[in-house]
């Protein structure tokens, strides 16, 4: 039904969206504010990798620690310098949201300036950058390495986060302070520290997604907004309260976008493929109107009962 290329494209994209959605969900749970700057953290990670690759010819995969750390620290800084003081002053959710849009615009334009300055310094292109690599043969199929590396990274991150949240003291403290900040701080948990860690991890995971980004789509300072809306779709589908819901949402959105447009552009409908960015938005709006609490809230028992009755 689908060619291998399309399926692999969908897989890589889903991995990226899942990585971002985990981070977005983590930060959403702390201050209950959707972080509009999350998409641009991805671009920041991508540009960190591309800068090293262009200047020192570092293999992008070796730049992974930096791709994690730079957006992570940026995200932490925005939390400590902007969101935390604002929420301490009793700012409403709307004010926090509008502040995060301001952060997004500042970061995006900083990346624009960085791209322009580097282009003038190094006399090479710094926009619409694509990284290429040779496909490897695996069991008779030619597969791009990024498909394997991004899948492995997503599985690794998901399992690490699962272990962190359930087996370590800090992870349990994190869940506790997300669930009930007041009670957690009474019990001696430093809520602020826990929240800072959440924002740090979220930024880092966005940066990891940024590492895989230039292999699939041209990295450009403007790409953040488009990605952000897709990540929101994934997180909202996942319910915004559950990291595994976010991963599931990421895979659904990735597949809806790539496989969906592939289906819709075939003969009976013949939709232009340029409508591709619209599909996740439609999925999100439908999800918000019909399952506003996300797919994890769907009660399977009720559905089974309903099916039995039919």
């Amino acid at each position: 039904m689908f060619s291998l290329d399309v399926i692999l494209d969908a897989l890589i994209f889903s991995n990226m969206i899942s990585l971002m959605a985990i981070g977005l969900t983590l930060t959403y749970q702390t201050l209950k504010v959707p972080n509009f700057a999350h998409g641009d953290l991805v671009t920041l990670g991508a540009y960190a990798v591309l800068f090293l690759y262009k200047t020192f010819n570092v293999n992008p995969y070796l730049a992974l620690p930096l791709a994690f750390l730079i957006p992570a620290f940026f995200s932490l800084l925005t939390y400590l310098l902007i969101y935390k003081p604002l929420s301490d002053r009793g700012a409403s959710i709307v004010v926090l949201m509008i502040a995060s849009i301001a952060v997004e615009i500042i970061l995006r334009n900083m990346l624009h300036i960085f791209a322009d300055v580097m282009r003038n310094l190094q006399k090479t292109y710094y926009r619409s950058l694509i990284l290429r690599e040779k496909n490897i043969l695996l069991g008779g199929f030619s597969i791009p390495p990024v498909a394997i590396s991004s899948t492995l990274t997503t599985i690794f991150v998901a399992s690490i986060i699962y272990l962190f949240l359930t087996k370590t003291k800090l992870g349990v403290a994190m869940r506790a302070s997300i669930e009930n900040p007041g009670l957690a701080s009474v019990l001696g948990i430093d809520v602020n520290k826990v929240y800072s860690i959440s924002w740090f991890i979220a930024g880092g995971l966005a940066g990891l997604a940024g590492l895989f980004l230039p292999y699939r789509m041209p990295a450009d300072p403007e790409i953040g907004w488009g990605l952000l809306l897709k990540v929101f779709s994934a997180s909202i589908l996942g319910g915004l309260d559950n990291i595994f819901g976010a991963i599931a949402g990421g895979y659904i959105i990735g597949n809806v976008e790539y496989l969906g447009i592939n289906l819709l552009s075939r003969p009976p409908i013949n939709l232009s493929t340029s409508y591709r960015p619209a599909l996740p938005l439609i999925a999100m709006i439908l999800a918000l109107l019909f399952v506003p609490k996300g797919i994890t809230s769907i009660n399977m028992r009720k559905i089974k009962k309903w099916l039995r009755r039919q």
């Binding site: 995006r108 300036i113 322009d116 907004w225 409508y275 999100m284």
Partner: protein
Amino acid sequence: MRALVNILKYTVPILWILLLFIGTRDPISFFLSILAFYSIYLLLSISLNLEYGFTGIPNFGKVMFYAGGAFVTGALSSRLIAPFIGISWKYLEKFKTYNVIVSTQVSRFFMQRPDVGVSIFVLMLLLGVLIGAFLGLIASYPAIRLREDYLGITLIASGELLRIIARNYDPLIAGTYGVMVPDPFYWLSGISHEIFRVGVMMSIAASTWIIVELLIKSPFGRMIRAIRDNELAAEALGKDVVKVRMKVLMIGSSIAAIAGVLYAFYLGSVQPDDFMPIKSFIVWVMVILGGAGNNKGAALGALLYLSIDRTIITLKNYLLVPFDVNNLAYIIIGCLFILVLMYRPEGLIPEKSGESIIKLSPKLLSKVKKNYNKSL
């Protein structure tokens, strides 16, 4: 001291704009373009102020309604009149390729028949209001049901959806290239044309301002503020919160759509990529900077934003930096905005609180306070 600050608030941006005239070659048209953009920004900030400042609906998708008005103008203004003035059907079928020719011919027709030009302008304004109200009605469906954060995302997403459709669905406004809009005041020429056009825009903005002011001072205005301050109490007093929110969104959206229509006619073209989500953010900057919850604040915010924006455009010719000055401008606006949110969240002109029906004299007020403290 306070009076001085109040005077400075208004004079500084105005002086600032006057300073910009030094750097321009053609001061009159520069002034007129400032007035034209000011009327558009004023309409946008009034409409957001009505929704967020007075009713408490955080509309993050203002650009959708603004684009709605502009797209309607782009799609219909020349096509409505073209079949009647003998423009061949061939051109209209391939609107994407020939829209420049069609709109020029329609403009020329307006030269002979000013009445038709003006009536098309009025018709487009009415259509814009209708489309805005319709989009507002659609937007009110999630606005009543969802929490602020979900609502913000939904509205941003629907704005993007509208833009993506306009970009890709060629029959609407000719896709990415955009479409030319005929000039309804083509029968005037030279400076009188500009003055008349800008005058019309300013008067539309001013009359909208007056209507919204009257609306806010009416019982309806008191009701929306009551809903903003305490929804439950308003509901307990028998106010239909859902219906009121729907009405406010429809009014606000049609004001934004009027701004879109004026923008399309003023620029003479409509391009879908002009309506990025950042436009909604700019409207928020204007409202928060000036002060939400009063129209003077919205007007001041629009003036301030315009003066910052024009400064950057003027400076562009003089600053020699290896990057686009616009990007720097956005960084400065973003930082300024965050500082305002932190240190003066009520904006430059705060909303007058406690405008009660019975005005107490200061003496009586202090007595009441004393008694109140005693009773505690």
